[in-house]
Symmetry: C2
Subunit: 99 residues, 2 copies
């Protein structure tokens, strides 16, 4: 499997409209068929020195292989999400891992 | 769901015995019943400016809720993994996210 993890930091995390807009955009991604399993998250309440909980949203999307993830990257729904929402975030950090 | 993601950087990434030892230790974690789905990964071949591929291993463990993850944290198999393998890594970075 191929695990695509992204952390998003908002430009204005105290702005509820921005929070709602990013969540709504992320939710649209779940409709993309190439995704095997999709998790959209916020930082949990866990607090240890090794835990980074500074981000505003995370996605963990599981794909059967990299080819499926490549389809996702170029999917119109994904491209529309980036076009619509990129102004909301100050930083994204991506980790792609394969089993 | 609760998504527990950990990235590991080895002290000696060029040492195959250390690579094998950490992988073997990570594989033992999959036997812990509290885990709903477990993915053990290495960096994929994807290369973009926003992708961090500097780590040596990742785990993405899905739990039904934080209580299940708390059971995992205290499980003897997890504690033995940390005791046996902590000397292998120079850094761990954890992200806990809840839907």
């Amino acid at each position: 499997m191929f695990v695509h993890t992204v952390f998003f930091w908002l430009n204005h995390p105290d702005n509820q409209a921005d929070q709602d807009a990013l969540r709504a955009g992320l939710e649209t991604l779940k409709s993309i068929d190439a995704i095997h399993a999709a998790y959209i998250g916020k930082p949990a309440g866990t607090r240890r020195a090794v835990i980074d909980y500074s981000y505003d949203f995370s996605i963990t999307f599981i794909f059967t292989d990299q080819a499926a993830q490549d389809i996702y990257q170029e999917h119109p729904t994904h491209l529309k999400f980036v076009a619509d929402c990129a102004h909301l975030w100050s930083r994204v950090q991506v980790y792609d891992a394969v089993e």
